[in-house]
Amino acid sequence: MWKQRSPGQSSFNDYNTFPLPQTQRVQPSYAHGPTFHTQQPLVTGTSVLGIKFDKGVMIAADNLASYGSLARFRDIQRLHPLGQHTLIGVAGDMSDYQWLQKELDALLREEDALALTDSHPSLSPKNIYQLLSNLFYARRSKMNPVWNAVLVGGWDKVKAESFLAYVDLLGTTYTAPTLATGFGAHLAQPLLREAYEAKAGIDGTGPLLTQEEAEKVLEDCMKVLFYRDARSINKFQIATITAEGSTISDSKSADTYWAFAEGLRGYGAQTQ
């Protein structure tokens, strides 16, 4: 009788009834060979843009996931809500992004479940951002990066103010009233800063853009990116996060003008 093992001590899981973390899987290391880490992104999303406005924050990203120069998936969403008042926009490797979605959703689901019993406050945008920063930095330090650049937008209920911050595969973090990843940092960020500072001033003390103005400047930026970023598509979504919560728009496109292309000389087939 005393030789019998308790459920937690058995060397194998006889009845599949032991606590999950202790479940032992038979995995001899030689069965796997060397472990590989992500060394380069494969299916990728391009720029994500973010801007603060008077009642919150907006984040924009297009609907394309590229496979190299191939426009592989043209209807994927790169904006993902995390709870009521936080939302992320993700550039970079889409499989890492999907993994991230799964992990964060599971975490938030557990948070929600626990909150019913102990009624602790939900994770603030800042909490989620700190978690992401720690995750990205820990993974880069293991030389196994999560190959993404992420904008976190949110509404801080306690401070009653908007939140916008950046974190990437190196664990680099920063915050600013306008943010852009990838090509957007070159093409869109100057336009976003110009629009923001036109009203708020360089010290940011003036009035912020209205929701309509912010949406307009984001749409302009997405158009500029579509004109010049070869890995972009003219189909994008804009997320808006305010005190009331977050919403993600339907996919839309910018009005583009190509007539000038007729007059261009020097590219492609020409008769004269």
Partner: protein, 271 residues
């Protein structure tokens, strides 16, 4: 040479070697920091621009951190490493305080930072640290570190993108390099300049670096740590500060041993 090679020289052409792509865990986020020790004070400063290549990531990111009532740390290099290093230093200081019921002294913090940096000798924190504050004997002190933990106490140190612009200036102004005392007068002693002079040197260092280095600019944060009992008139007198500069006293972090820390903010050009 033919004796030693069993293949034609063309085979050794390095351009034919396979190009390896490998994840680079580091980046350079620009900016500059500097610290100057006085007789009974220490000044630790940094700009607030964070950049990568030609992109300004943000115009306000912190590089200078108040650690204790008498220690301030400036970090420069790879920002993610800098932030996480400071986080760990602060955690170690908290543990020390819980274990010993007193804050860690400056020279001990300096030694701890060396240990922490050297512990990652083969995957270093890509960060140049400058620690400033008040020593146990009440003197102003500056410790500077390289990324793997070599350190020394100095009268002044500049680091970061504009180190090569600022350090020679400090060598001249703080260490009196290439200056000779007038015949018959006292020899120069570094580390005894008045606070107002030191502040002017700091401001001039950063405004000049901003002019000549693209990675420096936007704003400047100057921490001034003063020994207990020292007058604050030379800092708080509005007339002595430049236009647009603002001073704020940072309250004691611990029980307060009498040392006082002030934060001076000033704008730098944004271009």
């Amino acid at each position: 040479m033919a004796l030693y090679s069993n293949a034609p020289a063309s085979y050794a052409d390095h351009t034919s070697a396979p190009i390896e792509h490998r994840f680079n865990p580091y980046s350079d986020n620009g900016g500059s920091i500097l610290a100057i020790a006085g007789k009974d004070f220490s000044v630790i400063a940094g700009d607030t621009r964070q950049s990568e290549g030609y992109n300004i990531q943000t115009r306000y990111a912190r590089k200078v951190w108040q650690l204790t009532d008498k220690a301030v740390l400036a970090t420069n290099g790879f920002a993610a490493d800098g932030n996480n290093f400071v986080k760990r230093v602060k955690q170690r200081l908290e543990w020390y305080e819980h274990a010993h019921h007193k804050p860690m002294g400056l020279k001990s913090i300096a030694r701890m930072i060396q240990t922490m940096l050297y512990a990652k000798r083969f995957f270093p924190y890509y960060v140049y640290n400058i620690l400033g504050g008040i020593e146990e004997d009440g003197s102003g002190a500056v410790y500077s570190f390289d990324p793997v933990g070599s350190y020394e106490r100095e009268a002044c140190r500049a680091a970061g993108a504009a180190q090569s612009l600022i350090q020679p200036f400090l060598d001249n102004q703080i260490y009196f390099k290439n200056q000779t005392p007038e015949t018959g007068s006292e020899p120069f002693i570094p580390g005894n300049l008045p606070l107002s002079t030191v502040l002017s040197l700091v401001v001039d260092s950063f405004t000049s670096a901003t002019e000549r280095h693209i990675e420096v600019g936007d704003g400047m944060e100057i921490y001034v740590v003063m020994n207990k009992g020292r007058t604050t008139d030379d800092l708080l007198d509005k007339k002595k500060l430049g236009p647009g500069m603002e001073v704020e006293e940072l309250g004691a972090l611990g029980e307060g041993g009498g040392e006082r820390t002030f934060l001076v903010r000033a704008a730098l050009k944004r271009d």
